[in-house]
C-alpha cells in the first residue's frame, strides 16, 4: 500500500476547434497519496477542471485529444475499455461537482440513486443496498436519513444536495475522490460544514482527494499539498504551509497578494488577464504579466524543478527571487 493512489504523467489535453487543435493542458505531472488532499488551484481557464475531467475520462472522445498516462490501481485510466472504466468510476474513483442538482436525476429519490451505485459497484441486493444508502446519508450528516432517502432531489437545499452527492461518492468506498469546486455554489456557513465533513470522512476512510478550487481560503482550510495551475500547466507545487509562507513562483505570490486583507490598504492586482487556450505566449506563459520577467523568460517553457522542502517550481528566476509575503520576509 505504498506509492501514490493516483499518478499523472505528462498529461496533455487538446480540444478541437475550427482552427485546429487547441492545447489546454500541457505536460502536467502530479500524484496524490493515500489520505492526502491535493488542491488544484487556479483561475478560470487555467485547465484545472479539464485536468479533473480528463482523469475521469469525462471528455468527449471526438472533441478532445488526451495524451500521457494516468496510473490508478495498477492500470492506466486513459487506456481502459468502456466496461473496465464503468467498474472503476463511481466505485474506487468518485467525483463530485460544483452543482449537485445537475448530477442528480430529478425523477428518482435520492435513496434509489445512492442504492443503485451500491448495487452496481458492491454487488449488494436491493434491500441491503437501500440500508447501506441510508447509512451513507447518515454518515454525511443528513438528519432523519431513513425518511429523507425517499425524498426527491428538488426537496433538498443546495448544501443537502451536496451531502447527497458525497454520500453517493463515499458509499462505494472510493480510494480517490475528485471534488471539483464542491463548495463554490454554497453559502459560507454551509461551505464550512461541507469542508469539515470531507475532512472527517477522509480521516476515517483514508481516501485520497483532489480538490479543485479557485479559492485560496478554501485551499488553506483543506489541502495537504497544493498545485498551482496557470494557462494549462502546473507552475508550482508544495506542501500547503510551505506554499503560503514561501511562494516561489511570481504568479502564486501575485495570487496570494490579491486576497483582500485588512482594511483600506491598496488592493493588489496582477496586471493584465490570463491568456486564452490557443493563444498561449511562447516560453513561460506568465512572462507577459510578470514583473520579474527577463528577456530569457519568453524563450523556453520552464519545467518544474525541485527547490527543497518538497517544493517544486517552474520559473527561470526562482532561485534568485524572494517572494515571501510582507511581514514574513524573515520567517
Amino acid at each position: 500500500m505504498t506509492g501514490p493512489v493516483l499518478d499523472i504523467e505528462d498529461l496533455t489535453v487538446g480540444f478541437r476547434t475550427a482552427a485546429g487543435w487547441n492545447e489546454v493542458v500541457t505536460g502536467l505531472s502530479m500524484s496524490v497519496g493515500r489520505g492526502e488532499t491535493l488542491a488544484l488551484v487556479g483561475e478560470s481557464g487555467s485547465g484545472k477542471t479539464v485536468t479533473a475531467m480528463a482523469v475521469m475520462r469525462l471528455l468527449p472522445a471526438a472533441g478532445a485529444r488526451i495524451g500521457g498516462r494516468v496510473w490508478f490501481d495498477g492500470g492506466d485510466l486513459l487506456t481502459l475499455r468502456r466496461r473496465e472504466l464503468d467498474a472503476v468510476r463511481g466505485g474506487a474513483l468518485a467525483m463530485i461537482f460544483q452543482e449537485p442538482m445537475t448530477s442528480l436525476n430529478p425523477a428518482f429519490t435520492v435513496g434509489e440513486q445512492i442504492a443503485e451505485a451500491i448495487r452496481r459497484h458492491r454487488g449488494l441486493g436491493r434491500r441491503e443496498a437501500w440500508r447501506e444508502a441510508i447509512a451513507a446519508m447518515d454518515s454525511v450528516g443528513i438528519a432523519h436519513a431513513r425518511h429523507r432517502a425517499a425524498a426527491y432531489p428538488h426537496e433538498f437545499s443546495g448544501g443537502m444536495r451536496q451531502r447527497v452527492m458525497i454520500a453517493m461518492a463515499i458509499s462505494c468506498r472510493p480510494r480517490l475522490l475528485i471534488a471539483d469546486e464542491p463548495t463554490t455554489a454554497l453559502d459560507v456557513t454551509i461551505q464550512a460544514q461541507i469542508l469539515e465533513l470531507l475532512r472527517d470522512l477522509q480521516e476515517t476512510t483514508g481516501m485520497a482527494m483532489i480538490f479543485v478550487t479557485h479559492d485560496l481560503g478554501v485551499v488553506a482550510e483543506i489541502a495537504d499539498t497544493v498545485a498551482v495551475m496557470y494557462a494549462g500547466g502546473v507552475v508550482e507545487r508544495a506542501p500547503v504551509t510551505e506554499l503560503f509562507a514561501r511562494p516561489r513562483h511570481p504568479y502564486t505570490a501575485g495570487l496570494l497578494r490579491s486576497v483582500p486583507s485588512g482594511a483600506k490598504r491598496g488592493l493588489y492586482s496582477i496586471p493584465g488577464s490570463p491568456p486564452k487556450p490557443g493563444d498561449f505566449p511562447p516560453g513561460c506563459r506568465f512572462a507577459p504579466r510578470c514583473e520579474f520577467a527577463e528577456p530569457g523568460c519568453s524563450g523556453v517553457l520552464p519545467v518544474l524543478e525541485t527547490a527543497g522542502n518538497g517544493h517544486d517550481v517552474g520559473c527561470l528566476r526562482a532561485g534568485e527571487l524572494d517572494l515571501r509575503p510582507e511581514g514574513m520576509a524573515h520567517v
Binding site: 483561475e43 456557513t189 461551505q191 469539515e196 478554501v218 485551499v219 488553506a220 482550510e221 486576497v259 488592493l267
Partner: protein
C-alpha cells in the same frame, strides 16, 4: 444638499405563492450618505437582492418608503431613474449578445439624454475611457471580451446617465481574484471622480471590508446588524455576524479551523412565520425569550446596532 443619497424607511417586500406569502424583505430601514458605500451582506435567501430591486423600483414595496436624494418614490419616474442604476453579477446575461457595445451604451443616452449622434459617440468614447477600455471596444460584441472587461462595459452603461447611486448586486462575485481587484479599484476611482454612492451587495466579507464604509447584515429578510464596516468585521456583535465571519475560509494554513465553532443547520423554510428572532433556530446562544419575542435593536460600542436579545449583556466581538 444634506439629503442622503438613498434612504429606506420600513421597507417590506412580499411575494405570494398560491395562498402562501413570503416576506423576502421585512421592515428594513437604512441610509446611504452621498459618496459613501453601504454594503449589504447575507447568504442566499437573506433578501439582499430583493432589497436591491426594491431600492431601484424593480419590485413593488408592500410597505415603507424609498427616498432618492430626498424625494420619495414608489415607482421611480423616468427623471428619477437616471439617478439610480443597477449592475448585476453576470455581465454576460445583462448585455445584449447581438449588439455591439456602442449600441448597449447608446441606449441609456437615447432614453435619458437628448444628444446629437456626434455628441453621443463622444460620450461613449468618454465612458469607455472612464472604465479603462480602449476606444475600439465600442464596435465589438460582448463575447469578444473577458468577464472583467464585460463587467467594465456594464459599469460604463450604468454610469452613462451620470447617476448619484449605483446598486452593485454581487458585481465582482463571478470574477477571478486578480480581475476582481481590478474592478474594485475601478469602482473606488469612479466613486471619487464622479461623486457616486454605492449600495454594494455581496456575500464576500473580505471584499466588503475593503470597499464599504457601512455594513448591513441581513438574515432571512431581516437586518440583524449594522455599523461601520471595519467594526462589523473586527468585532461583530450579532451571533449571526460572528458565525458568518468565523465561517470565512482564511487564506492562512496556520489559522486552519480547529476549535472554531461551526454554525449548525441551515436557514429555515422561507415561508415559516417567526414570532421571535429569525435566527433563534440556529443561534448558539438562543434562550426561550428569543423564540417567543421579537428582539430589540441595541446600540453597539464602536457604532451601529444589533437586533438581538443577548447583545446588551453579551458585548460585541469575542465575549
Amino acid at each position: 444638499m444634506s439629503d442622503p443619497a438613498l434612504e429606506l424607511d420600513g421597507v417590506s417586500v412580499e411575494f405570494r405563492q398560491g395562498r402562501r406569502r413570503l416576506r423576502a424583505v421585512s421592515d428594513v430601514s437604512l441610509r446611504l450618505e452621498r459618496r459613501h458605500t453601504l454594503a449589504v451582506v447575507g447568504e442566499s435567501g437573506s433578501g439582499k437582492s430583493t432589497l436591491a430591486r426594491a431600492a431601484t423600483g424593480l419590485v413593488p414595496l408592500s410597505s415603507g418608503t424609498v427616498r432618492l436624494l430626498g424625494r420619495e418614490f414608489r415607482r421611480p419616474r423616468r427623471d428619477q431613474r437616471r439617478h439610480i442604476q443597477l449592475v448585476f453579477q453576470d455581465p454576460y446575461s445583462s448585455l445584449d449578445p447581438s449588439s455591439v457595445v456602442r449600441s448597449s451604451l447608446a441606449e441609456p443616452l437615447i432614453v435619458h439624454e437628448r444628444l446629437s449622434k456626434q455628441d453621443r459617440n463622444k460620450r461613449i468614447a468618454e465612458l469607455l475611457r472612464d472604465v479603462g477600455l480602449p476606444a475600439d471596444a465600442a464596435d465589438r460584441y460582448p463575447h469578444e471580451f473577458s468577464g472583467g472587461q464585460r463587467q467594465r462595459i456594464a459599469i460604463a452603461r450604468a454610469i452613462a446617465t451620470r447617476p448619484d447611486v449605483l446598486v452593485l448586486d454581487e458585481a465582482v462575485s463571478a470574477l477571478d481574484v486578480s480581475t476582481q481587484n481590478q474592478i474594485l479599484e475601478l469602482l473606488a476611482d469612479l466613486r471619487r471622480e464622479h461623486g457616486l454612492a454605492y449600495v454594494f451587495i455581496s456575500h464576500n466579507l473580505g471584499v466588503v471590508r475593503w470597499i464599504a464604509d457601512e455594513t448591513v447584515v441581513m438574515y432571512m429578510g431581516h437586518v440583524v446588524e449594522t455599523g461601520p464596516a471595519e467594526r462589523v468585521h473586527v468585532s461583530p456583535a450579532h451571533p449571526y455576524t460572528q458565525a458568518l465571519i468565523s465561517a470565512m475560509p482564511v487564506p492562512d494554513p496556520a489559522a486552519r479551523r480547529g476549535a472554531r465553532p461551526l454554525l449548525k443547520g441551515e436557514p429555515p423554510d422561507q415561508f415559516e412565520v417567526h414570532r421571535g428572532c429569525v435566527f433563534a433556530g440556529r443561534c448558539p446562544i438562543a434562550e426561550e425569550l428569543c423564540h417567543t419575542t421579537p428582539p430589540p435593536r441595541v446600540d453597539v460600542a464602536g457604532g451601529g446596532a444589533a437586533v438581538c436579545h443577548k447583545v446588551s449583556n453579551h458585548e460585541g466581538g469575542t465575549a
